[in-house]
Point group: D2
Chain length 152, copies 4
């Protein structure tokens, strides 16, 4: 099997394997709609971790210069339901890199079939929850991975 714990990049796309467990489903028999946002957040976290950016460093202390990410807007579309035991892939790419925010485009797939699509607008904030510019260090990490095809 090709599922790598924590996922990996394939070009500009980060792919994270996710197994559907009891906790993810609801009584209608399929994955509960809000849980796709959890899957996508895991995907973005692993996307950042693979680039060397960790939440534990972003949060958790008051050192100057620390910044964090905060979701400002999202748009989601449900195409097909997922069920218990399904093996899913969260595909994440950086669609836009601006001065103080980024846009990420994500898909949850089962095999080649897209089940859910999400676009997320994320602001960079400082320790007081105020908008902050993306640091040069972070920009240097994100720029090379910016998807060249911004169609989504």
């Amino acid at each position: 099997m090709s599922e790598v714990f924590g996922g990996a990049f394939d070009g500009s796309f980060h792919r994270l394997p996710i197994r559907v467990y009891y906790e993810d489903t609801d009584f209608s028999g399929v994955v509960y709609y809000a849980n796709y946002l959890k899957f996508c957040e895991r995907g973005r976290t692993e996307f950042l971790r693979a680039l060397g950016i960790h939440h534990a460093e972003l949060h958790g202390n008051d050192l100057q210069g620390r910044t964090a990410f905060a979701v400002r807007r999202f748009e989601g579309e449900f195409l097909k339901p997922a069920g218990i035991d399904d093996l899913l892939t969260v595909e994440t790419r950086l669609a836009e890199l601006r001065g103080a925010s980024i846009r990420m485009a994500q898909q949850v797939l089962r095999g080649d079939a897209a089940l859910f699509r999400l676009t997320v607008q994320i602001a960079v904030i400082d320790g007081r929850q105020r908008p902050a510019r993306i640091s040069d260090d972070m920009r240097a990490l994100l720029s090379p991975i910016l998807a060249t095809n911004n169609s989504a």
Copy 2:
């Protein structure tokens, strides 16, 4: 205090009080982003329940004519964070009533301050997950509550 368990309609608006618990927050100190979708789903459920429409009747058996709701698309916008112990209100209104789908507009507020806004496109489906027309009975329940001001 005016918080009513299960909420109530005020004209075309249904308002559901929600208390923020440990389970709703994350280590950044505020409510986790996906949990606003849970709050809004509770709001839509109580909106329907107040009109006499129950999930237990919509799902759970194979009788002819049974239908259920399935979220197809959503758009969300985060305005301010909510924290532990906050008393929130989920405000829900029916923004559009079509042949086989509805659109609901929701806000999560703390007092008069809007924290989160969500628009949800919901399809009516039959027991085989196929699109279905909204029944005359359900239309008769929903039509009177259709918000006259669809600006949101």
Copy 3:
């Protein structure tokens, strides 16, 4: 209806009404087992809130004298399943009050039928996660509500 938002004390017992939503269930058709711990935590929080003890005051800053509660052990027993739309009651009582810990006994009921029972051992900790003695102020709040019948 007698459901009071946030619940209320009846003698030594605090009762909190809870509605079962989509998010609480799993594909087997009933409430997911871990979610009873969420319900019980809401019950304990409302138990404390009704006595004037708030999480937001317990956590969140480094002022001297601040303490928090941390679950150390629990024992749970499942008697009957709960389903979507069920109206449940979380019944919470203080079963034991010691120098640096408390024991709470809880039940989740549907009508008069007990569905789940939980006993929780809770330590009081200071801001550095070390065991701390229960303050005189907190003891004065908790003592009167200590259940006289510790049979459970």
Copy 4:
């Protein structure tokens, strides 16, 4: 890295790697207590999957002979907290195999440090939620993996 997606057996012990995400934590800064039950359920599911037993086959249709697992009792003990980004291991073993139930002993570890211990009593039930005997097929799968040291 030695983390295998979905985990693997090491003798009688099944070990599943789990990454702590935003969704798992609460505002106190550590993993929310009920989420350890989610982690342990994932561990039991992967334990069973590695033996060839799948939930999707256990549930979901009315064929004769189908059985499912239902948690009856659990006892948990919290030793140390886990935090965001932590890489955890869920260690699962079969502690007892009876006629109509099993007992599983689980630990959540970070490196060699045990953070949480859980003992779970699980009944086998039929499609009508009634107790059922463990089938010969399932017994043949479970017997070889029964931990020889039942001390926990």
